[in-house]
Each structure stands twice: as structure tokens, then as C-alpha cells.
């Protein structure tokens, strides 16, 4: 499971970085989204991967080894919210640039041929 998980994160990061370096604004925002997915998965993975273990303690089973670490899950939630908000903002700026310049190049003008 760890290997598949790590490969997924790695593929997402490499695709994200490649797209981030592309000249079109849509590619950049897709790259940022993929990077944020990869980051969130990475944070989640830092709590170690466990099957069938709840993150919230209850009185029935007080042994901590029966639970998964809840902190990374809380961190991921925060990171998702923040990433979502900033991506939405980026989308607005992207549309504004498209409206102002008439092109979807990140520099607002097509490179000279």
C-alpha cells in the first residue's frame, strides 16, 4: 500500500510541476491543483497509513495503538480549505487576465514568433 501511495504522490507532483511551468494560465492552475492534491496526500501519509483504525478516541478502547494519528487529518482539512480558497482566487485573476489581454498566456501576451 505504501508503495502505491508514494507512487501516486510522486506522479501527482511531477505532473503538477510540469504543468506549473507551462505557459498557459489554465495549465498553471491545473498544475497548482495537482500539487495541492499531492501535498494533501503527503501530509495524510505522514500520519502513517493504517487500515481500520479510527482517529477519534472513545472510552471502549483506551489503547492509543488502536487508533490512527488524528493530527495529520486535521492538518489536511485546513490545508484543503486554504488551498481551495487560494485556487479560487487564482481562477478569478486568471479570468481577469484573459479579459484584459485577450490571451491565456501567463505574461498576458503571446511570445514573438
Amino acid at each position: 500500500m505504501e508503495l502505491v501511495y508514494a507512487l501516486a504522490v510522486g506522479i501527482l507532483v511531477s505532473a503538477g510541476v510540469w504543468l506549473l511551468l507551462r505557459p498557459r494560465t489554465f495549465q498553471v492552475i491545473m498544475g497548482l491543483s495537482l500539487l495541492s492534491y499531492a501535498t494533501n496526500l503527503f501530509i495524510f501519509g505522514m500520519g502513517r497509513l493504517h487500515m481500520q483504525r479510527p482517529p477519534i478516541l472513545n472510552d471502549a478502547a483506551p489503547d492509543p495503538s488502536l487508533y490512527t494519528d488524528p493530527v495529520p487529518q486535521a492538518l489536511v482539512l485546513t490545508a484543503i480549505v486554504i488551498g481551495f480558497a487560494t485556487t479560487a482566487l487564482f481562477l478569478v485573476v486568471l479570468l481577469a487576465l484573459r479579459g484584459l489581454s485577450g490571451t491565456d498566456h501567463v505574461d498576458g501576451r503571446e511570445p514573438e514568433q
Binding site: 506549473l20 494560465t25 498553471v28 497548482l32 500539487l35 495541492s36 499531492a38 501535498t39 503527503f42 501530509i43 501519509g45 505522514m46 500520519g47 502513517r48 493530527v71 495529520p72 486535521a74 492538518l75 485546513t78 490545508a79 480549505v81 486554504i82 488551498g83 480558497a85 487560494t86 485556487t87 482566487l89 487564482f90 485573476v93 486568471l94 481577469a96 487576465l97 479579459g99 484584459l100 489581454s101 501567463v106 505574461d107 498576458g108
Partner: protein, 559 residues
């Protein structure tokens, strides 16, 4: 707990509440909005100065060793999120309050016209900065970074226009990518040591196995790279000159402290994580070399540009480079002069950015050079967003009192700013650089450090000279070629903040002995992380009942 015990949380709560209330007010309530914004910043200034006083030796009975810990919700560290006020935090808070208050008063002249919610965004920017300086938790540091960045994204775009939108896009993309690096770094550190509390890191790092230690170091490096992006270090600073140059003068001035948040983070995390006291940084000698290149590349940028605001933006890079390179030397006694330089450079660049808003108005027509497009031609496209572009060149008459001898005032302030930026006597820019260089050259533990110190000294002096050349050239064009210029009408509310910031710098120069004593105490407590760690980790609330009542008042700290 008495009211005084809740002081450390006020710099976060007050601007947050002010921003929220102002969002709900209608556009027509300008007077109320202005008074809320001013009141919020005045409260913050009072709180910051009180905290500053409480951390000094004069008030040693309040907090041991000048470190105050505020457990949010009454949960003790390392499990709860704590706010920590030490001398460095209190100093940065005061700096934020002074700069922000000046910027706010300045922006009241005509820069805060309706459109985007300027005041709310500005309060959130201040809140993010305050929170970043106060927090003792790595993840809430990330959250506060994001708050201040999100507010700054909105502020950069204020006024719109092609230049702002394009540069804003680059700025947002770079900083989003840096935020992901930040998260990955924090996650790696949490995954290896199992804590997010900064004070808890050091003890747990020492107990790591070698293979886990390597992972932790990788996390620290990634985190350090994220900090360097914020600090405007070469080669990660290409977003900075553009973003500062296109944003409006008061907004750029409000950003003056933003790069210093990165420097602060490097200093704070670095001193808390170093096991041997000499290596005061997470990035070690890399910091010295990148800082040096930042210094040189920033001054090349200063020479290359013809636009005053862009030039000041490059001087921000130069000051960042100087601080990073000095910290990278790994000499402990250098920290106090670096902090002095940090204070003067924040005040100076803020004053200088404010000044550019006024000198821009001496132009007869809008400038077309240097990628700064005029805003007016872009307006029709933008009505859909409900945004109107304020007139950056002030062709409309402002109401209110204008100050006499506008050109003389501008000239005088310009000279003061140039002296401050380049570090010429008698202003504190000189004091800062002089003490820094003398400390660098005096304390030479090894031959390698001595050579590095000499290289840094030569670079600092050379960049100072380059700065004088670049600024003199622009100054001559601004003030001596009078036929192409008109005398602008200057508002008192615009002129006073600039004069105030320069005055604060002068006071710093006059009182440099007590200020340096305070900063040396700051540096000593920074390089003695054990005190910080024991104070934070032993901060269990006094009684159970107290903890409960404070958690009811303030709610959870987790976002």
C-alpha cells in the same frame, strides 16, 4: 486570569473582528469604517507597546526572562496551540503596528476609495503578520502566512489594470507553490518528530534515529526554502520587484514588513533547532551565499531600473540579502545588529514607498515606461467585478488641507530616505550598517569566517555605493529637471505619515544605545533556546477553573 493576561491574543483578535465588522458595513459608511480601522490599529499599537514593555528587563516581575506564553483555549503546550511573546515577537509586533498605522493614515487621503474592501483586507494583512510573529506552532505559522498572503493577493490587485493583474498572477502562483513547500516541510517534520510545537522540536530532534534524522533535515530544508521565497532571497525573488512596483504606494508600504516575516521565520526556527549555538540557522552556510548573491543581484536591479517604486522594491531585496548573509555567517553576536538593521530597513522602505505615491504625482502625464500601464484605459473591462480604479496620479482635487512648500518637503524626505536606504551618516541606516560590519569584522572565530566577513563587508559597502548612484540619478530627474514637473498638492494625511516614519528612524538613531541594549538582550534570549523551551513547555494554566473559563471565552485555536 486578568485582562492583562489576555494581551497576547489581542493583536490577532482585534484586526480580525475589525475586518469582519467592516465587511458588513455598507459602502456609504465611510466615516464609521475609517474610525473602526483607525481604532483597531491604535489598540494594536497600544497592546504591542505594552507587550514590548513587559518583555524588557524593566518589567521582569511580569514574565520570567521576558517570555510570555498564552495557551489558546487553556490547552497547555505542546498539545494546544500557544502564542509566545518574547522580545523579538514584541519588537516585530510594535513594528507592524507603527508601519500599519502610518500606512492607514496615508491611505485615508484618497487611496481607500470604494471598490474592493481595502480596509478589511488591510486589517487581515496586519492580522496575518501579527499572528505569524506571535505563534509558537509550526502549522499555525502556515495558517497566518496564508492569511497575510491571501490579503496581500487582494491588495496587489487593487486598482486593477493589465500590469497589476499580470504581476498579481505571477505573485500568486509563486507564493502558492511556496505554500505547498511549506506544508511538505511541516508534514515531514511532524512525521518524524511527532510535534508541531516549535519549543518541543529541539528535544525531540536530538532523540531521533539517524535515518529519521535525515528525513527531518530534509523537511527543515524544504521549510527553509519556503521561508526564503517569502524573504525575497535570490533566486526565488523574481516575483518581488514586480509585485511591489505595480501595487499602489500605501499597499507596497504595507508590504514592507512582509519579506521580514520570512527573515523572522528563518531566525526563529533556526535558533530553536540548532543544537550547537554557533550554527544559528536551518540552512547553514547556504544562507550566507544566497544572501550574498541576493545582495549583489538586488543592487544590480537598483542600477538597472528607471522607476522609483521598482528601485525601492530592489532595495527591499538588498536589505533581505544583507540580513540573510549576515545571519548565514553563523556568528552569534551578529544577530543584534541584524535586528537593528531590520527595524530601520522596515521603517525606511515603508516611508520610501509612501513617498513614491507623492512623487508620482509630480509627473505631468502618466508614465509609460517600465511596464507600468496606466489604469484608466482598462476601466471599462472591469465594471463587471464592481471595481473602480482609483486615480493613481491624483488629477482630481482632494478635499482637506494641503501642506505648504510641497516640493521642499518631498525633496527633504527623499534625501532622508536615500540616506537611510544607503546607510549614510547621521541617520540610523549608518548606525545599523556600521555596528553590523564592525561586529562581523571583530568576531572572527576562524579564518574561513574572517574571509566570509570581509567579503560581506566589501559587498555591503559596494551595494551602498551602487544604491547612492541609482538613487541620486532618480533624485536629479525628480527634483532638478523642474520644467517637466508640476508641484503636486500634498495632503496633510499623506505627508504626516512619511514624516512620522522618518522621525521614528531619527529617534532610533538618537536612542541607539538603549535600543541596542534591548536588541542584544533579544539576541541573547534567541540564542539561549533552552529558556524559551522550558518557559513554553511549562506553561500549564494556573488552575483548572481558569483554563475552562478562558476556553469558553476564546474558542478553539485550531482553524
Amino acid at each position: 486570569m486578568s485582562v492583562l493576561d489576555h494581551l497576547p491574543v489581542l493583536p490577532i483578535i482585534v484586526p480580525l473582528a475589525a475586518a469582519t465588522v467592516m465587511l458588513l458595513l455598507s459602502e456609504s459608511r465611510r466615516g464609521l469604517r475609517t474610525s473602526i480601522a483607525l481604532g483597531s490599529l491604535l489598540v494594536q499599537l497600544a497592546v504591542a507597546l505594552t507587550l514590548l514593555y513587559q518583555t524588557t528587563d524593566a518589567a521582569a516581575h511580569i514574565w520570567d526572562d521576558g517570555i510570555g506564553v498564552y495557551p489558546i483555549g487553556g490547552w497547555p503546550a505542546p498539545f494546544g496551540i500557544v502564542l509566545v511573546v518574547d522580545r523579538l515577537s514584541a519588537m516585530m509586533l510594535s513594528l507592524v503596528a507603527i508601519v500599519s498605522l502610518s500606512v492607514l493614515v496615508y491611505s485615508l487621503a484618497h487611496w481607500d476609495k470604494p471598490g474592493q474592501p481595502f480596509h478589511s483586507l488591510f486589517q487581515l494583512l496586519v492580522m496575518g503578520q501579527n499572528g505569524a510573529f506571535l505563534t509558537g506552532d509550526l502549522f499555525s505559522l502556515f495558517v497566518f502566512f496564508e492569511i497575510l498572503l491571501a490579503a496581500s493577493y487582494g491588495l496587489v490587485l487593487r486598482g486593477t489594470g493589465m500590469g497589476r493583474v499580470r504581476t498579481g498572477l505571477h505573485y500568486i502562483a509563486v507564493n502558492l507553490a511556496a505554500s505547498f513547500l511549506f506544508l511538505i516541510g511541516v508534514a515531514l517534520m511532524y512525521g518524524t518528530v511527532g510535534t508541531l510545537n516549535m519549543a518541543d522540536l529541539l528535544g525531540r530532534v536530538a532523540a531521533l534515529e539517524p535515518d529519521e534524522r535525515a528525513l527531518f533535515d530534509a523537511g527543515a530544508w524544504i521549510l527553509g526554502i519556503a521561508f526564503l521565497v517569502k524573504a525575497g532571497s535570490w533566486p526565488l525573488n523574481s516575483w518581488l520587484p514586480g509585485a511591489y512596483a505595480v501595487s499602489m504606494a500605501p499597499i507596497a508600504a504595507g508590504f514592507a514588513i512582509m519579506t521580514k516575516v520570512g527573515v523572522y521565520a528563518v531566525l526563529r526556527i533556526g535558533t530553536l533547532m540548532s543544537e550547537d549555538e554557533a550554527a544559528a540557522t536551518i540552512l547553514g552556510s547556504i544562507l550566507y551565499y544566497t544572501g550574498l548573491v541576493t545582495l549583489v543581484s538586488g543592487s544590480i536591479g537598483m542600477l538597472a531600473t528607471q522607476h522609483l517604486k521598482r528601485l525601492v522594491a530592489y532595495s527591499v531585496i538588498v536589505s533581505s540579502g544583507l540580513m540573510l548573509a549576515s545571519l548565514g555567517l553563523g556568528v552569534e553576536s551578529v544577530t543584534a545588529p541584524v535586528l537593528f538593521y531590520l527595524v530601520t530597513s522596515v521603517l525606511t522602505t515603508a516611508a520610501f514607498f509612501l513617498l513614491t505615491g507623492m512623487t508620482d504625482r509630480t509627473r505631468l502625464q502618466a508614465p509609460v515606461t517600465d511596464h507600468i500601464e496606466t489604469d484608466r484605459e482598462m476601466m471599462p473591462d472591469y465594471m463587471a467585478f464592481g471595481i473602480r480604479a482609483p486615480d493613481p496620479y491624483g488629477t482630481e482635487e482632494e478635499v482637506g488641507a494641503a501642506i505648504p512648500a510641497a516640493m521642499a518637503f518631498l525633496g527633504l524626505m527623499f534625501v532622508c530616505c536615500v540616506l537611510l536606504v544607503t546607510g549614510l551618516p547621521p541617520l540610523p541606516g549608518f548606525v545599523a550598517k556600521f555596528t553590523l560590519l564592525s561586529v562581523v569584522l571583530e568576531t572572527t572565530p576562524t579564518v574561513g569566517a574572517r574571509n566570509a566577513g570581509w567579503v560581506l563587508a566589501v559587498a555591503v559597502l559596494a551595494t551602498g555605493l551602487v544604491g547612492i548612484i541609482a538613487l541620486t540619478r532618480i533624485g536629479m530627474r525628480l527634483f532638478w529637471s523642474s520644467t517637466e514637473r508640476r508641484t503636486p498638492r500634498l495632503h496633510v494625511t499623506e505627508a504626516a505619515p512619511v514624516a512620522f516614519l522618518v522621525l521614528v528612524c531619527l529617534v532610533l538613531a538618537a536612542a541607539s544605545a538603549p535600543v541596542m541594549r534591548f536588541l542584544e538582550a533579544t539576541a541573547n534570549s534567541l540564542h539561549d533556546p533552552d529558556t524559551y523551551i522550558t518557559t513554553v513547555l511549562s506553561s500549564i494554566p494556573d488552575t483548572h477553573g481558569d483554563a475552562e473559563s478562558s476556553s469558553g471565552d476564546l474558542g478553539g485555536g485550531a482553524p
